[in-house]
């Protein structure tokens, strides 16, 4: 009895399915890369597949964490990819103009400049959504499209390469044997959790997303809250932008952070936050982002042909979304139980499945759109 109830409590935890998917994806790699889980120490740095996943997933985690709060208010932010590009372009072009590219003051100023630009983008998004009442998907589409142009203007349409030791640290350096970006992510995630759960911000965000009219009538200043989350989201994207440009020591207005908004939205959804707004889970989002990064890594390690990459990714994403849908699980698992009690019939489990699959697929449709 107690084991059953404990198992129940575990499977009903909101992080159960995202974590389960992550674990399965990680295990899939083992037959192809036997030393997948091993971590080696070379030159005082830790190396290994797990470390790489976190390292390469860092920008996505940052963007997705910011996106979580926006989605929790019932909004969406498509401009994060462009903000990544703008921030990187601004920081790199400032550094490249310096006589000494490794001067700490110059690098800090460059980062500040980049993040300031990100905050301005966030204010603009927040202004359009909260003040002008424009639908978030349209409001943020403006910077999504125009922002890349701005980034190209900053870089004169070129890829700016720099050679700055301090700047390299953010996205490509090591500290205490670990990639420095892991620490950046840890700090941002911790700050976000404190900001939302140690203050009342999380509650108010969930209330605005859960029932906007009731929130207005209860006296929540929802405009202010919405502007705050768009600014926060842009700031997270800005940090990701610094990280990406630092990792390659270059700013590419065209390709930096391309399509990262879609992966971020997907990470939020896999993490269990509804696109309709309301309840959100930062922990879920982090797991969701790791799932996506692991999936990308897995595609390479198991040797999926390059041209079928995206199709393979889409199939896995659809399966993950279906597994997350309680209705789908109820249908499939009850169908299986029915088949079991129906004894020997060899092909019987497949018979009821198609009906359940189609019904649940429509159910999960809004989730799949984003992939």
């Amino acid at each position: 009895m107690t084991t059953t109830s404990r198992w129940r409590a575990l499977t009903h935890h909101h992080l159960f399915w995202p974590v389960a998917v992550l674990v399965v994806l990680l295990l899939v790699n083992v037959p192809f890369t036997p030393d997948f889980f091993s971590i080696k120490m070379t030159d005082g740095h830790l190396y290994g597949s797990l470390v790489s996943i976190v390292l390469f997933g860092s920008p996505l985690i940052l963007v997705a964490v910011g996106m979580t709060l926006v989605i929790a208010t019932g909004g969406i932010d498509l401009s994060v990819g462009a903000v990544v590009a703008i921030t990187g372009a601004l920081a790199c072009s400032y550094i490249s103009d310096q006589a000494d590219q490794s001067a700490l003051a110059g690098v800090l100023l460059a980062m500040g400049l980049g993040l300031l630009a990100a905050v301005v983008c966030g204010l603009w998004n927040g202004f359009l959504v909260a003040r002008m009442g424009i639908q978030p998907i349209i409001a943020t589409l403006i910077i999504m499209v125009a922002g890349r142009g701005v980034a190209q203007l900053i870089t004169d349409g070129q890829i700016i390469t720099i050679n700055s030791e301090p700047y390299k640290l953010i996205g490509g350096g090591y500290w205490l044997t670990l990639p420095f970006s892991i620490f950046v992510v840890a700090v941002v995630v911790a700050v976000t959790v404190v900001l939302t759960r140690r203050t009342a911000l999380g509650l108010l965000v969930e209330s605005v997303g859960g029932n906007a009219e009731a929130s207005r009538l209860v006296g929540i200043r929802s405009r202010r809250i919405k502007i705050m989350v768009y600014v926060f989201c842009a700031l997270c994207a800005g940090i990701a932008g610094l990280m990406i440009s630092s990792n390659t020591s270059a700013a590419d207005g065209n390709n930096a952070g391309l399509w990262i908004e879609l992966d971020a939205i997907l990470a939020v959804v896999i993490g269990g936050t509804s696109l309709l707004g309301g309840r959100f889970s930062i922990g879920g989002t982090v797991v969701g982002a790791l799932v996506i990064q692991t999936l990308t890594t897995t595609i390479y390690t198991i040797g999926v042909p390059t041209q079928t990459n995206l199709v393979f990714k889409a199939v896995v994403v659809i399966i993950v979304c279906l597994l997350q849908s309680p209705k789908f699980r109820a249908k499939v698992f009850s169908a299986r139980l029915g088949a079991k009690s129906g004894a020997q019939g060899g092909g019987s489990p497949s018979a009821p499945a198609p009906a359940g699959t189609t019904a649940a697929a429509t159910e999960a449709a809004p989730k799949m759109e984003v992939s």
Binding site: R198, T199, G210, A214, S215, G219, G278
Partner: protein
């Protein structure tokens, strides 16, 4: 007037929903060339009757004859084909299409699969012309105000009736609360269209909550109550007092006996004063004074402006005239925040859409108003929060007494208590309760009423809205009577105030 044959006759109509008998043996008839009002309070069965007639719901008993032939419609489309068209309260048209397209949508004249645009525009113009309207059919619908869109909806249903019934035309037109969002001038325009249709022999079934409009435009009326027929009368034969009695369902002298006053606590000095506060399309400018510890009950029929008045006092809607002062200080009522800051709290009648956040827990819902007032940077300390929540869960007997339960899973009565708790912990000076006892069980009802009395004794002012007059009478020091979006009287409660007196005031619209 020699009575002709009715165009529509419904006899012994029965409709049952699981656990509810929505209509039990209702008779209804409709004559050609008349405007017939269908009246009743919420839940009387008006919309069920219309839905049974138009084939939205199936029939569980009784017969319907149209032009002497027995009919039974399986869908609204069939009803339309037989000449029964319906226009609902909300305009169900496409604002971005032209008027002509809207009139012909779904039945566009075609030749070889292509739409004949010229013919469509010509026929639309003819139809509009025939009904005496001045509308450019090529303009997009959205270029016209809501009232004209409503007229276009009527033109569309008349046109649909004409074309699909092979020339016999629309025999019955059902208008379900078409006037609820129109201003006076627009209502007159609608009425003149209704009269022209009536002259053309169309029978019009008209549903409205505005008594004056009934008396202005209708010839005959049928009153329903609790799913049964109360009576059918010529409008000129029944005065408004009689009508209100029929709708509410108690003879005046019968009500006298029910009357039973509770002792009321004394009231203090003036807390809130509203002067000439009003909003076009909501409620006409009114004056209202609320004293400390006073319970003011608002009485009036559905749609009389009770909720609209309350929403203005809370800043939920923006007033376009008048002032509000609270505790002697003028307050600009532009948003709920202004009112909350001045100590006003408001429990909406729509618990689900305007009150609770269903995904959040009981605890989170309870602290929401207090937390919103403190701002996001100053969270309520966990120990203080848990103590407050536990205290109010106990005081209001919220079940389950689990602060972690999702509020969406609670019963109606318990949800109402959560809403009450949310505002009570903010210790408001004025608590506005809009139908707090609707849809909840009797036990919870009594508890909430007792709570109102004790809050008032503690010096809190309460504005109490309820559909049941007895409830208002039992609790209130002062009773505000509303009618047709107007505060028509304020009666000081006392032995001489009875439900019949309130009824008379509602019916006559005058302070006696």
């Amino acid at each position: 007037m020699a009575e002709p044959q009715p165009v529509l006759q419904m006899t012994g109509i029965v409709k049952e929903f699981p656990g509810v008998r929505a209509l039990s043996g209702v008779d209804f008839r409709l004559f050609p060339g008349e405007i017939h009002a269908l009246l009743g309070e919420n839940g009387a069965g008006k919309s069920t009757l219309i839905k049974v007639l138009t084939g939205v719901h199936s029939l569980d008993g009784g017969t319907i004859t149209l032009d002497g032939e027995s009919v039974r419609f399986a869908s609204p489309l069939q009803a339309q084909q037989a000449g029964i068209s319906t226009v609902y309260q909300e305009v169900n048209l496409c604002p971005n299409l032209s008027v002509a397209e809207n009139i012909f949508i779904g039945r566009e004249p075609t030749r070889a699969g292509r739409i004949q645009w010229k013919r469509m525009r010509r026929e639309a113009a003819e139809l509009v012309d025939r009904l005496g309207l001045d509308i450019d059919v090529t303009a997009p619908l959205s270029s016209y105000p809501l009232a004209v869109q409503q007229l276009v909806a009527i033109v569309r249903s008349v046109g649909t009736g004409d074309s699909v019934s092979g020339g016999s035309g629309t025999k019955v037109l059902i208008l379900d609360e078409p006037t609820s969002s129109l201003d006076r001038g627009e209502v007159l325009e609608l009425f003149s269209l209704m009269r022209r249709l009536k002259e053309q022999g169309v029978a019009i079934l008209f549903v409205s909550h505005f008594l004056d409009q009934i008396y202005e435009v209708c010839d005959r009326m049928t009153v329903l109550r609790n799913g049964t027929l109360v009576g059918e009368h010529m409008v000129r034969d029944l005065d408004q007092v009689g009508l209100v009695q029929l709708m509410i369902g108690k003879a005046l002298d019968q009500l006298e006996e029910l009357h039973d006053h509770q002792l009321h606590s004394d009231v203090g000095e003036t807390l809130l004063k509203a002067e000439a506060l009003g909003r076009a399309g909501g409620i006409a400018p009114f004056d209202l004074e609320v004293k400390k510890g006073e319970v003011i009950g608002l009485a009036g029929l559905l749609g009389s402006g009770r909720t609209e008045l309350a929403r203005l006092l809370f800043g939920a809607d923006q007033p376009d005239s008048g002032t509000v002062s609270i505790g002697g200080k003028q307050v600009s009522m532009n948003a709920p925040n202004d009112a909350i800051g001045a100590g006003v709290a408001f429990c909406s009648e729509n618990r689900k859409t305007e009150g609770l956040v269903p995904d959040l827990t009981v605890r989170e819902n309870i602290i929401l108003a207090l937390q919103a007032a403190r701002g996001w940077t100053r969270p309520i300390p966990a120990s203080q929060r848990d103590e407050l929540v536990a205290k109010y869960i106990k005081a209001l007997d919220i079940r389950p007494a689990n602060p972690e339960a999702r509020v969406g899973q609670l019963s109606g009565g318990n949800q109402q208590k959560v809403l009450l708790a949310r505002w009570l912990i903010t210790q408001p000076k004025l608590l506005i309760l809009d139908e707090p006892t609707r849809g909840i069980d009797i036990g919870a009802k009594a508890e909430i009423q007792k709570l109102v009395v004790s809050l008032s004794e503690d010096g809190m002012s309460v504005l109490y809205i309820a559909a049941e007059l007895e409830e208002v009478l039992r609790l209130s020091h002062t009773i505000g009577v509303l009618r047709d979006r107007r505060l028509v009287a304020q009666l000081t409660n006392g032995p001489e105030i009875t439900t019949s007196r309130i009824l008379e005031t509602i019916a006559s619209g005058e302070h006696q």
